[in-house]
């Protein structure tokens, strides 16, 4: 039988601080179908970001089973994980995580650079991507510190989109924004989901989670409950 797009079974992530074990994720199992829009919600320190890093192939769980599109991620090499992140996954962070000394366009280009695309192709795609998230063309050459928070997050989304990924992970993407630009960003996400991309949004605000189809509640590294949102 074909496995679900994302399948995680009894995932644990344990940090070791000297002798002391700090379990951040304590046996999480979940399935996500292609094209779903999921929100992961929970109090601070509950393990949302840790879970997102694992699902996003940035980190491997200490134990458990994790398949992404039928590929056993626990068995994948570091290079393979990098390739998956580059090709299939896009990240958007609360603090934008843009490269400070590069222009908006150069920032967006970066994943394309690691994909080995030519300069011409990179620029073409970066421009397309930036226009798609609604950044004005005159700002393409601006450095991050010359952009507003909302504009920065648009650049970050454009960067996440440039290699046309299947899944986008967003860790509190509106956390550093005011309500208005936050809403604009969330609308972009909604639009991306409509185009068929799987979206996993981490937040601790109920109101943000409301944009998703399904909300997964996390508490102390465990899934507390799940709820479906009627659109």
């Amino acid at each position: 039988m074909k496995k679900p797009f994302i399948q995680a079974n009894d995932i644990w992530k344990i940090y070791y601080m000297g002798e002391v074990e700090v379990p951040a994720i304590r046996g999480i199992s979940l399935e996500i179908k292609k094209g779903e829009f999921i929100a992961i919600i929970g109090p601070s320190g509950s393990g949302k970001s840790t879970l997102m890093h694992i699902l996003g192939c940035l980190d491997k769980p200490t134990k458990g089973i994790f398949y992404l599109d039928e590929e056993d991620i626990l068995k994948a090499s570091e290079n393979r994980l990098a390739a998956i992140r580059n090709d299939r996954i896009g990240f958007v962070f609360q603090q934008f995580n843009l490269l400070a000394r590069r222009s908006a366009l150069e920032n967006v280009e970066t994943p394309c650079l690691y994909a080995g695309k030519s300069r011409k192709e990179r620029i073409r795609r970066a421009r397309e991507s930036l226009l798609k998230v609604g950044l004005e063309e005159k700002r393409f050459s601006h450095h991050p510190n010359q952009l507003s928070g909302g504009q920065r997050q648009r650049v970050a989304i454009a960067r996440a989109l440039i290699n046309d990924p299947d899944i986008i992970f967003a860790d509190e993407p509106t956390g550093a924004l005011d309500t208005r630009s936050g809403d604009e960003i969330l609308e972009i996400f909604q639009q991306l989901n409509k185009e068929g991309r799987t979206l996993i949004l981490v937040t601790h605000e109920r109101y943000v989670a409301q944009y998703a189809e399904r909300i997964i509640h996390i508490k102390d590294g465990r899934i507390d409950s799940e709820e479906l949102i009627a659109q």
């Binding site: 890093h53 990098a82 992140r85 970066t110 290699n163």
Partner: protein
Amino acid sequence: MIVSELAKVALQSLMINKLRSFLSMLGIIIGVTAVIAIISIGQGATQMVQETISSLGSGLVTISPGFRGGWGGRAARTASGLFTLELGEELKEKSPDVEELVPSIQSGGLLKYGENSYQASIVATASGYENIFNHTIAEGRFLVAEDVDNYRKVVVLGSNVVRELFGNQNPLGKKTIIQMGQGRFIFEVVGVLESKGQVMFFNFDNQVYIPVTTMMKRMTGSKYVNSYSAQAIDSEEAIKQVEFLLAKRLEDPDLYNVTSQEEILETIQRVSATMIFMLAGIAGISLLVGGIGIMNIMLVSVTERTREIGIRKALGAKRKDILIQFIVEALVMSLVGGAIGLVLGWAVSVLVSRYGGWAPTLSMFSVVVGIGFSSAVGLVFGIYPAMKAAKLNPVEALRYE
């Protein structure tokens, strides 16, 4: 992933911190400058000395007093009371491979003509000296046998001496006063030599030549000469014959020294090669220090840019991409430093060669050494910080404040 693209990323990073990058390069710049300059100056100087010695003509054999207790120091000269004119005659007659042999006494004195005076080196010698040392007569004649036989007060001048004393006048037949110690002697100028030019610290054009007998009988009263210079048909044979005769006359072989021009050339070559390598080696140590400087700044840079590395990894950079980026940064720093050092080193050697009077040489060897060493230094000292960067865990790097 295309290396040239990563190189561009590395270059941009260096440009962001121009002053810091430059300061980190300084060690390499100084190291390469020193290595290039030392090699170039050493080669230039050696070559010039060799050319000069060769220009004295091949087959030159010098018989000089032995040196005791190492080089230099007048005290070390022990045999000045042993070389007589008669011994010189005997050496010449009894050594079949000695074609020509002249005695000589080196001294100094003040020459005067009218208002002009000139401190010159005085060489008291005999006819034949000009052939042994490949001197060309510009005007008049050199010393002849009759000058020596009759203790004539005649002098042949080097070209500098003529210019300083006589200016544009014709010096031939003019009387010049030679002042040596307490004595003043009037000499007649009979010849002028063609210029030979400056040879390091020695200038043939500052010399004047008088008959050896005149010096001994009329001026100093000495019975001995300083040395003999000989023209050999076969240098090695001539040395053997002369040494055989000298061994019979002067028991102690330490009292004299018979060397051919070829031997001197060889010795100079050997000694200077050793010197150049030693000095270049010392300069090379500063390259090492420069490398440590680069490693230090790269380590700082990796720490500072931990977050950047985390972001790049999240976006799909592999270990090797990060590795290349940071190695290229170190390499660019050391290569740019090396290139600047090359230019500076070349400038220094051109400057020094002007004072030294030789043609500046930039050998392929020193270019290869300069560029090769600096890139090796960049690679060796860049690899550890780059590996540190490449190995960073992406999540930890992203969390880094």
